[in-house]
Amino acid sequence: METVMAHPFAKYLREAMMPHIWCSGCGNGIILNCFVQAVDELQMDLNKLVVVSGIGCIGRAAGYVNTNSFHTTHGRPIAFATGIKLANPELEVVIISGDGDLFAIGGNHFIHAARRNIGIKVICANNFNYGMTGGQQGPTTPVEALTTTTPYGNIEHPFNLVHLAAASGATYVARWTTLHVRRLTQSIKKLLQKEGFGFIEVVSPCPEIFGRYNKMRTGLEMMEWFRKVSAIENFSDPAKAEITPERIVVGEFVDIAKISYEKLIHEKIAEINEKKMQW
């Protein structure tokens, strides 16, 4: 007799959207899993949760979670989420998107949202390339890495995302790899409870393309790389946390308290209208 057991997280996923589009060995599923686990552990009100993503492989994540979700244009989920959060600050707005989406085409939105300290939470799947379009070089591609558009090796310097986030003013900054499932989940829980702009970078395997071009053909091989070179160093200097083939510093980098933009603007509104009443 065959018994089909409902997956414990079934209620968090849109069955109608399955099967998902991700390759086997891809890290995106792990990230989604950790996110759902965090939401479950926090017993979050799904009605108040909005997941937003841009365009890319990881960008499909928004469609897979069974909550309010929006799949925006490439690079714009942060700007879109800003509108949601300011229009209804009661909503918990989370962005799950890619390194290209958030830091190339959408880089400007990232630094400004962090600077304003808008209360949105950004989870970036950093797979070192543009997976969706077939593996081109992106803003996090390591020097000398091979991609379809750097056939002779990448000569651009990659962003150190945690440094960028910290310097831009994020109140919470962390980096994990898809190997650090438990820590990532706890970190997402923390992120979701922070006030203001928070950011987690998840170093994620893309064996199908990035791995294939760079001598790590399976997800396992990529995870093996993460295992070998990653070191947990909480609250180390994010400026010194550049990712290299030899070293991936993971952990929390920033965890500070700062009043959010949406709180400030609503305080201002209250203040203005109080003054009006006194006339």
Partner: protein, 383 residues
């Protein structure tokens, strides 16, 4: 909060940009995101003050791409939302205007047109974004664009834009020009309860049964917003009634894109608005919009005084284009004159609708709009 104190009423002398901003507030707009640009900046500056007074949000974004994205986000979070810009910013908004079309997000975009291409002439008027308003984003779609020709209309048509946008779940564009934006005139603002306000159709199905893109008979789906108890997905990808991506089904693509077009095309009679002056016996008709229509009206009156049977057809709705009105008048009249502050944009639509009736185009670039005399001369030459 005391609403009476914060919503304007009565007669005021103001400029077009401010009238537009006040129109937005009167329409119930409570979210503005924008990026400064001449000659639309006064809209942002005024709303930076006024939005907060009425309990709404003003946010200056990092660029116009972000502004348009934030507006769609706010719309999906339940607020009436607007942005305002001019040519260069309007170009940057185009991709996300397409997203608003595809996800049927009600929103208003104000474009106070200046001279282009590129940075062009920031402080001079133009009507060069007429085609961009219709075709600026990729893919096939229909959109609504209204052209005010007075400060009063900056107020009225901004409200109208919100009403149409909410009715049809489509972006509505207020296509103004620098002169209308910056000139000062009297605006009469009726008491709030006398202003017609339309709000989007709300979702009323039980949440399990709700399909976010399932249209009613009018081809417009009722709208749920985030946080209202419906958990739904929206995407810029081609999607079915449930909002789920269907990127390789030609059937879904045809059904969706056709509906997005048809909800405007089939309701065009209800959307289109024109002003008709002295048309019944006109031998020659001027078709003009925006500030140019004011010069045209003056020219038509002068022509009448000199015994020339001239008339004016002023499209208030540029998109959908009032082609039936033009076709009808083309059958009655001998000639049509179209003055525009560009190298020939709406005139193409006029020619298409006018069929055999000769159409003379009167271009004006790089300075003030046409004078009444210039249009009068064209009337005389063609009558």
């Amino acid at each position: 909060m005391n609403q009476k104190r914060v919503i304007l009423e009565g007669s005021h002398f103001m400029n077009g940009d401010i009238a537009c901003a006040e129109g937005a507030i009167a329409a119930g707009c409570r979210f503005f995101a924008g990026y400064p640009i001449t000659p639309a900046t006064e809209i942002a500056e005024h709303l930076a003050q006024r939005m907060l007074e009425v309990g709404g949000i003003y946010v200056q974004m990092e660029d116009e791409i972000a502004s348009m994205a934030a507006v769609i986000g706010a719309s999906y979070a339940g607020l009436k939302a607007m942005t305002a810009t001019s040519g260069p910013g309007f170009s940057l908004m185009q991709e996300n205007i397409g997203l608003a079309v595809m996800t049927e997000a009600p929103c208003v975009i104000v474009d106070v047109m200046r001279g282009g291409p590129s940075t062009g002439q920031p402080t001079l008027p133009g009507q060069q974004d007429v085609m961009q308003a219709k075709w600026g984003s990729h893919g096939d779609y229909e959109i609504i664009a209204l052209a005010p020709s007075s400060v009063q209309e900056m107020f009225n048509l901004t409200i109208e834009a919100f009403n149409l946008s909410e009715t049809y779940r489509v972006p509505a564009i207020v296509l103004a020009d620098e002169v209308v934006g910056h000139m000062w005139e009297k605006v009469a603002i009726p008491p709030a309860q006398k202003i017609k306000i339309v709000n989007r159709k709300k979702a009323n199905a039980p949440s399990e049964a709700y399909a976010p893109f399932m249209p009613d008979d009018d081809l417009v789906p009722p709208m749920a917003c985030f946080g209202e108890g419906y958990s739904f997905h929206a995407t810029g990808l081609t999607h079915d009634e449930h909002g789920y991506p269907q990127t390789s089904s030609s059937e879904v693509q045809q059904k969706l894109v056709k509906r997005l077009c048809d909800k405007i095309r089939k309701n065009a009679d209800k959307i289109v608005r024109v002003e008709e002056v002295l048309l019944s016996d006109a031998d020659i008709v001027v078709v003009a919009y925006g500030i140019v229509a004011r010069a045209a009206l003056s020219a038509v009156r002068k022509a009448r005084a000199e015994g020339i049977k001239a008339g004016l057809l002023r499209p208030i709705t540029l998109w959908p284009f009032p082609e039936n009105h033009v076709a009808k008048i083309a059958q009655q009249t001998k000639a049509i004159v179209v003055p525009e502050m560009n190298c020939g944009q709406l005139v193409r639509e006029v020619e298409r609708a006018a069929k055999e009736t000769p159409v003379t185009f009167l271009s004006k670039l790089g300075e003030e709009p046409h004078t009444p005399m210039e249009i009068f001369e064209a009337i005389r030459r063609n009558s």
